[in-house]
Symmetry: C2
Subunit: 443 residues, 2 copies
């Protein structure tokens, strides 16, 4: 605060009373008097952090952090401040790195804190700055002494029940006996890794937009061909980001869960799906890697799905789920039909020949024991389920896949093949029908 004041920055002093220590009120009054002596505005915030921690099942440290930053950014916004500046110093940074290393907190932890964080979890408009992050505690104390500035010591800093304090007060001094100057090396390591992490995150962002095919609250799909060509370091980050998209409140998406996904893609299980923890599963389908909640439904609007069994009028149209439709038209010019069928052949339309003028069409879903004689196999019969497996129709959409039937016999599996029996043969008294499957987006 003294430095900002002297370099001419307009300052607002905000102090947060965490309500943890009995003397915290006195401390707040001390800070207020300092602010008054500089003639700068002073704002006091208060919370009973231990109660909040208990209610939300958080550690005291986590709860303090949340309440403090909420307060600071609220006040910064109210007072139209440019920046929230906090006084983390180089020792704090070294401690943070070591703490994260010991916790193994995954890929982000090792980089420690940043000089400048924007956007941050508390604001999209106001950055968080740590201008003293490369200044050692002893230098700050020396500055205070030389300027005659008084300061308070928070006695909870000495309480080794707090993990950070144990690191600061016991572990780092001990490690210094192994390697003198250790805390400086830790700081440098954090700085190096921060540079690495920034670049890797930048690459991840770019690849993210290429890799994500579909996204909803309960699932996310990555394009496999793109995913497979990523370097391992980026694969891990993309998977981690994907999991956080579905589980934004997960405490830590750790090494094991990310590794499980990557190994599954390299060597899928027979069922092509597996549980990965955090109530999530992954599954492979048609060039996509889905990460989804156990209860979550995968999107089916990419596939035609039947609402209910129904006759299909001639001419007529039947609505399926989510914008899909099937249309049937009797062709008066039977002669052009075959040519047309060959010329315009695609999977979304079919020309079939019904045996007599009175034959009618039915749309239904599959039944146990269904068989099918795909065109091009000389009338050979196969199980419909085998046909669906061979053509890789995703398992979960097979049950409601629409089937065009004549009587009980399947004449067309829309999107795939007509039956040998109903191929165009130019028989007398037969009736040629043109069928189309389409999605309302295609009109």
């Amino acid at each position: 605060m003294d430095l900002f004041y002297r370099t001419g920055y307009p300052v607002v002093v905000a102090h947060f009373d965490h309500g943890i220590r009995p003397e915290s009120k006195q401390d707040a009054r001390f800070v207020e008097r300092v602010a008054q002596s500089y003639n700068v505005p002073f704002i006091l915030g208060k919370a009973h952090v231990p109660r909040y921690a208990e209610e939300h099942n958080l550690s005291i440290e986590e709860a303090s952090r949340i309440k403090r930053y909420q307060f600071l950014f609220e006040q910064a916004e109210k007072n139209a401040c440019q920046t929230v500046a906090v006084a983390h110093n180089a020792d704090d940074q070294a401690e943070t790195l070591l703490m994260h290393l010991l916790r193994g907190s995954g890929m982000d932890g090792l980089t420690g804190m940043a000089f400048h964080t924007f956007p941050n979890p508390w604001s999209n408009t106001i950055p968080l700055a740590r201008p003293l992050l490369n200044t050692w505690r002893t230098d700050i104390e020396e500055y205070c002494t030389s300027r005659g500035l008084k300061y308070l010591l928070d006695r909870t800093n000495l309480d080794s029940r707090y993990f950070r304090n144990r690191i600061r007060n016991e572990l780092i001094p001990e490690l210094e006996t192994y390697i003198p100057g250790l805390h400086k090396r830790l700081w440098q390591t954090a700085d190096l890794l921060q540079g690495d992490q920034n670049l890797l995150e930048e690459i991840t962002q770019k690849e993210w937009s290429v890799n994500v095919a579909q996204k909803d609250s309960g699932f996310l799909a990555l394009r496999l061909p793109d995913f497979n060509r990523l370097p391992l370091a980026i694969k891990r980050r993309v998977v981690r980001k994907a999991i956080y998209e579905i589980r934004p409140n997960a405490r830590d998406v750790d090494y094991a869960i990310v590794n499980r996904v990557i190994r599954f893609v390299e060597k899928p299980t027979k069922t092509k799906k597996t549980d990965i923890g955090l109530g999530l599963k992954v599954l492979l389908e048609e060039g996509l890697l889905f990460i989804t909640t156990w209860e979550g439904e995968l999107p089916s609007d990419e596939w035609p799905q039947l609402k209910e069994e129904s006759p299909l009028e001639l001419p007529g149209e039947l609505e399926l789920q989510k914008g899909w439709k099937i249309q049937a038209v009797v062709l008066s010019n039977q002669k052009g039909a075959k040519e047309n069928a060959i010329k315009n052949s695609d999977l979304y339309q079919a020309w079939i020949e019904l045996p007599h003028q009175k034959a009618s069409l039915l749309i239904r879903s599959r039944k146990p024991g269904d068989v099918f004689k795909p065109l091009g196999m000389g009338g050979k019969k196969m199980k419909l389920s085998d046909f669906m497996i061979n053509l890789k129709i995703p398992c979960r959409v097979r049950n409601r896949w629409p089937l065009i039937c004549v009587g009980d016999e399947i004449a067309w599996v829309p999107g795939y093949r007509i039956a040998h029996t109903f191929r165009l043969g130019g028989k007398k008294r037969s009736k040629v029908v043109h069928l189309r499957l389409y999605h309302h987006k295609d009109i």
Copy 2:
């Protein structure tokens, strides 16, 4: 060895006796007997490591490592082995990470050891493999017990004078009291960072070939426009690699030295050069960043440099250093000269008019007090040194820059400008001379 043997790999057992412990001979005999019981070849290597360490000013650990791997790869080559396999395990990996973290050994250290290293410092043909790198020591011991395999304990492993042993026997057990399962987290961190490092090294390799403009034993030049657009993480790696190119035996190119180079490029000193340590300096020159030894000479074959003062005959030619030459021809057709001068104007040739037929030319280097009247300034006189500074002729090549003089007056600064006095004026009885500066490569 037992695993390789059982999975059918042909094995050669190579044992290295470091000569550190009195019982090391017995140990070697134990290993030999084991090899015999499997009926596989056994090779024994020996060295007096403590003596070697003292002679080469190395720690016992470093010296052991060097002698051991030299022996292993020599024998592997002799025996036409596919791979040298060593038995580092997951605990070793966790220890290595922690050791490097404490030492702050810069960018590579934190990644620990690799499963597979190829090429490696000892061979370009045989890889080094660590097949047990993800197997914990307790699992290996359990395997031995269950298979009835006997093993030796190296009692130096208990000697806490060795840094690694102190880490293994004292620090890790203590850290486990902070965070149970710490050693697994360390292993995972090493694995994650290895993935990151692989990608960053790959990017560095690509950028290296783009960035390096010149390279010799005593110096290396990076192209500044390319260097400046690199992300910080890659800048650091390129600088580090550059320093290792000039100082291949440097123990560690640390954070400080790399940072000094990067800060210098961002904010160069007035002199555009600075010492960076390790007997190296950096300097900026004409879009290049040079890293060079203090004693090292920068390349000057890009610039014309005089050997010694000499008259220049008409017609005539004079050899400068390193393939540069200056040529002079008297033109008989004075009328076309001016047109020609304008049309073919480039910095490597000049047309000057000498006041009378007997005037002769001299090539010399600069002298204190030299002045010059550059063409295009209306005959205004300036210090030659200012002229050279303005045109950014690199400092180190100014002293030997060739100057074409008439009497004592400078008529042409080759590569730059002719003097106002000697411009083409078409005076009577004057003599027009065509001058050319060229490099033998240009012919």
